[in-house]
Symmetry: D2
Subunit: 358 residues, 4 copies
């Protein structure tokens, strides 16, 4: 209710702040009997962590996860799983200097308005560091999806003006921007580094694909699969839009172009094209689920900007510190986690859609 | 939980199908003492109803609303408000012919997969007719927002290749496509009519603006105002994407361009630009909330399409019947309703964000 | 959230007032493919309706139910089921006389305090008439339980000082107080009639038993089966307490007496006794679930009582009108409905408790 | 949804097991700006902790609480508050011996049935140790209630056959059974010690009183204040029944006896008596809220009992270990916590009951 939980049957609640003791997540509703280890969770956290390359922040967090509850003898018990990632490199000294300044593009002003009081150290709760909890829980969701041979892949589709033309999944983790197109990846890296040198930042588009999702997931009319996925992605910091399949280009299409014809593939109903992005009427069709979201350029920039103080005085600000010059590369594992969490929740919810299964 | 409710404190549950007895909605959590009449609700329903013009379906529904509970002597009592719109022109005969055919672009196949059984008459529950309930409840939400001088305006921003260039709110209801640009409106109408003559349909983009929203609405980190609004819009039939402020064009912007500088306007903190679309960190800034969503071209078209039968046989289909050739014009009041419902819910949720108010 | 819904996966939302247009209920989450007819629902409503005998109110309501949505060709579609019972004999004239008087034992004062405005006709929303919606939805729940051979029986265990000594399920519907002990039933009837003659009312205890419930239902640590059942029963008008198995008498027992020894019955684990009432640690054991709740004597009595007016003036009141002199007999089908609704919800929730089922 | 959360606006989620790493709780929805310290929380935890006296278990847990998030510079920030109590004296060796035995009265069998796999160390998640999280969060709820001058008192009303006759709040913490009647307290202590000497345990009744609660709390028709409080108390281990005001004795009362007459006290509406226990129609009246719940005798006893093994073989068991011979004394602070959590949630929910406040 207070907004810190996501999911209905498979539900996470995250807690913790950027420069507090650490980041925690409680995963409720994970069914019993699933084997899971800290090592498996760590793999996903390592993909998200800071200091990976020259296009990410230099803050050094080992992001070591501890399973604090809900797992016994290597298997989930059906009770809440508490996961904990301690903050280590939480240097909050520089935030003292700007504690009364509202950083443009950040949530400083809005948190102050909403709560009347805020943790100004590194954005506090509004920091992207909170997503460590999502990624940790998402690793468990991925484990469940693997049982169903459901696979999720995300990647940088666009950074600045550079758009991936070829999609080679094997290439994604080979470059530091996580782009599936090797040639474009290089251009993306240069684009980021050039902006950073100017004390600036850049935006991008991440594409997320889920393969092997069975038809039938989604709970109309409000908890449509695409509605819940939109909320999942829009709940990530810096995301300003989301689209499915042909997305916004559907505005210029005709029905005869956009409609995906049905055809049989053996005994399975398929669609010849997938303009719908794998979802019709809010329910999965069995085709790949394909979505994209846009991330705005990182708000923390070295360039001087106009702002005001908490006391209502005009001021200027240069946001020093260690920041990602582009959100996209590290958003990839986070987006995969959100996709995984949403799909597991809907898999579980769909268990009770037909009377013959009750 | 089953997906038919929206909102937390101010919550609607819709029920009913396209060709059943009618469309109902239960509004829970509406505070007591608000004056409301059937006439006020009817105004909004009339904006959504069928048969308004040559660019909408010719199905004739008077959409008369009845208040069945929760209002006494013209005022809400704080108990659930039941609203009911009876179906009248529900000719389901032609659906018998296609009851075993999956219409491309529609939810026939996915409902069959999910539930193993479906009401094939006019899309049943997946029909846009369900949104009558949302519009009815939205009228009550608008009444509450008016107390706060919050005003919502939506309009067709784009239909096919035609994009509104000037935004004149007074023009919107003057043309049948609800476009704020008179010149472009004519082009949009012609575009739709031409497609209809070809037995085809077209897509579009609707823009929704909320003015006068106070800063502080939104419940991070998952129930961010933009995340909830995205879900609200994506839960509408035919919507394939949503974006805020600069939206997808943020991908090619720099941080120094996208960040909205803060400045003082008397005692009020404003932003010089509004690239953020009125939301930072998932919380309203006090600037206009600006979002757009794309609607795909209507799935029901007269042109012959390939499909399969429920029994797995290839077939062709021409979807006869009375359908909107473009979703956008009638989506306008529906979008306003979803915006209003979301804002009231967040206004109420925000009441308890500070201890001094408890 | 606003308190008018019950259940998580199998959820009802009731709406409507005693002297408004009628009583409605929306049932969300009922799985698709369940055969259900208005006639089946009517059977349960007839057991609850007014004017059944000399120990119930003389208000005459036919309580005819209409299925307004969610059922197609005699089967549920998985979409929300709207049920509607129109009010007919809603004579609200006499309530005009007492609209400014707070009836002792009733919710007049508290509704006024909470909402600042209330529907004073017959208790409005606080009337037991609201339970018609629960009974209607409960009939569908019972249909689902029948598939599992789960059977629910409720009866008047005690009225005034008269306590049933023998429990003969076949006797329950043979007498107008729904007591399973024929001899005691007569005493109960006389006790009620005597009180009514004095312009007074009496209290009682209802016992509810569920047979055939599989082990494993209940969601610790808060949504324990007994916690949810307690809430279910306590949400009924006039209920002031609930207990399971040995209930309050456990206070004077020793652990060695109260503990139910485990033993094998073929391959099934049973308990030798059932002091626990079929629930351990909040989860069903597979033994009969046994609970009792107490109903206070009906608040509406002819005897003169002291009270105050809405304006704060002392006054006296005699509550005329048509009221049940004892709540118990008509509470029986309502209690069964609440038990059924709770069990179906937990059956569905339990579907996802083990990873091997996901 | 999975059952580990309580509350809607002011919501706790507990996690952790008896013999795992520790017990955690996440409190969501606590409004910002409330001063709170670890020391204040510790006071309540110390009242619940083990090893307090000769009538409690000898397990030694310091139950030191750490605030891990949501508090900055001594004040709540409005973000989730993570609290953590590490397990210290978690000797699980003796549980290895009985890991395949179902302890009578415990949740061993039902957890095994539900989840197919369980943490057998000290009851795992079903242990009363879980309530440490509730008490910690309850301390924060009490802090909020203090602002409203709402005070909660709980005490042992009955242990075995001994019932408190006088109610002296100042006496409660003076004796180790937390009984408000000094003379009866001694008898209770002797009763417990005698049973323990016999390797047995005893039951009891706890009474909980809330003073200063304003009229208007409670959300009919399902989330009535008494329904939610019943669920709160029934969600505690070993509780088998709950009643309000006159409770079960209402069964033998007449309406003319049970109804509480209204009268004026200055400008305030009062009831002359409080048979209703401070709640009418599910909404608080402004009088003291008075409830009682019964705790069964502790299930863990040294006496030999019949049981079966996980493999379905008959067996006998003597439950060694360190257990409370009576639940009541330590249930007192836990019950206060549940009352406090429920009241704060309803205070917050009630903020939006009238349109004039929105």
């Amino acid at each position: 209710m207070s907004g810190n939980s996501f999911g209905k049957l498979f539900k996470i609640s995250t807690w913790g702040e950027s420069h507090g003791a650490g980041i925690g997540v409680v995963l409720e509703g994970c069914p019993a009997g699933l084997p899971i280890t800290e090592e498996e969770i760590q793999i996903e956290l390592d993909r998200r962590k800071t200091g990976q390359s020259k296009v990410t922040t230099s803050r050094k967090e080992s992001d070591k996860v501890r399973i604090l509850s809900g797992v016994f003898k290597g298997k989930t018990t059906g009770t809440p799983i508490g996961l904990w990632v301690e903050n280590q490199d939480a240097d909050s000294s520089k935030y003292e200097l700007i504690k009364d300044l509202y950083r443009p593009g950040h949530a400083d002003f809005t948190y102050q308005m909403k709560y009347g009081f805020r943790d100004y150290r590194g954005g506090g709760r509004s920091s992207a560091r909170e997503t460590a909890g999502r990624v940790a829980a998402g690793a468990i969701a991925k484990k469940l999806l693997a049982k169903h041979k459901i696979r999720i892949v995300a990647y940088s589709k666009q950074i600045g003006p550079h758009i991936a033309k070829t999609i080679d999944y094997d290439e994604i983790e080979n470059n530091i921007v996580r782009c599936p197109d090797k040639t474009i990846a290089e251009k993306m890296v240069n684009h980021i580094l050039k902006a950073r040198k100017q004390g600036d930042s850049v935006g991008g588009v991440v594409e997320v694909v889920a393969m092997g999702v069975p038809p039938g997931l989604g709970e109309p009319v409000f908890d449509r699969l695409d509605a819940d996925l939109s909320k999942a992605m829009m709940s990530l910091p810096a995301v300003k839009g989301v689209e499915f399949g042909t997305g916004f280009s559907a505005a210029t299409m005709k029905g005869s172009q956009h409609n995906d014809a049905f055809e049989m593939e053996g005994k399975r109903v398929r669609t010849r094209t997938n303009h719908a992005g794998g979802i019709l009427g809010g329910i999965s069709t069995g085709e790949d689920i394909v979505l994209r979201f846009v991330v705005k350029p990182t708000s923390s920039i070295l360039k001087e900007q106009d702002t005001v103080t908490k006391q209502g005085k005009p001021a200027t600000i240069r946001v020093e510190g260690r920041h990602d010059p582009c959100v996209s590369p590290r958003a990839v594992p986070i987006a995969e986690a959100m996709m995984a969490l949403t799909l597991v929740d809907h898999l579980m919810r769909n268990k009770v859609s037909q009377a013959k299964n009750i």
